[in-house]
Amino acid sequence: MSFDVNEYYSKLNGDDVLIAYKGNVSSELISNVLEVVEARMDDISEDSKIRKKVYNVLVESLQNLYHHIDVLPPGMQNEYEEKFGILVVSRIKTRYRISTGNFVQTSKIDVLKNKIDKINSMSKEELKDMYKFILNHQRLSDKGGGGLGLVDIARKTGNPLDYAFHEYDDEYSFFNLDVHIDFNYG
């Protein structure tokens, strides 16, 4: 059975959710999401240290989506717009979870998987060095992406990047990334 994106989304969208969205990821959408999440954290008087981390990591997660979303599988193009992504921000027990998801061509999985595995294997100090190296030696793409997003997220959260690829059809898979921000960080 092929991966069902709607079922997957409803499973994520349970209790303690600050915001849940699926659809076109535009610059305006990113602004709106940031505003809503900031207001929600204000409402519950979230600790300012946590608030900053969540905000920072959310910016990178959303802009990663924005910069890297692939074309939709043909079977989904009637239902959704081109830059289709999923975002769910939840506050669960001891941590925040930022879940993002988007379709990727299965042929690109290996590169992405290797990159994340490498980041996950690195110590705090190694991540810092990697960040500084990329910052100083790689140029921004025309779209403004810098290849730093995932490294920055890993650095700021201190947690491994939790990911999965779900097969959709012969050509496409759904990439899910869960980022965790602990309440008692640092």
Partner: protein, 126 residues
């Protein structure tokens, strides 16, 4: 030389570059999806300023948030300042961070280790 003044938005910082008193300020949030366009006039202004800088240029960076797209452009700004500092003109970068914001302090230290300009880390206590 004319001052550069840009009003801040939800995604871009307030910018005040003044060649008369040598004070350069970037304040607020810098989280645009594509930061190249925003930072281009800043880098160009500094390029022009570097031809006849004051004896002392004071740089105040006070960012609440910045994204990784901006981080490279901020480095480009600092590299221009480094070039000015390499001449006979003094440059100081005052990097402000809120007291509980270790990530922002660390970001300043990252730049300090890359750029050969004196940094001063300034903690903002509320």
């Amino acid at each position: 030389m004319e001052a550069l003044s840009i009003e801040g938005t939800a995604k871009t910082p307030t910018v005040k570059f003044n060649a008369q008193d040598g004070v350069i300020e970037i304040k607020g949030r810098s989280i645009p999806e594509n930061s190249i366009e925003f930072y281009k006039p800043l880098v160009e202004w500094l390029e022009q300023y570097s031809s006849s800088p004051l004896d002392l240029t004071q740089v105040n960076v006070q960012l609440e948030y910045f994204n990784t797209s901006s981080s490279k452009c901020i480095l480009d700004v600092f590299k221009k300042l480094e070039a000015i500092h390499k001449g006979k003109s003094e440059v100081i970068i005052n990097w402000h961070y809120e007291e509980d914001d270790e990530d922002m302090l660390e970001a300043g230290e990252d730049y300090e280790s890359i750029i050969r300009v004196p940094f001063k880390m300034i903690e903002i206590v509320e």
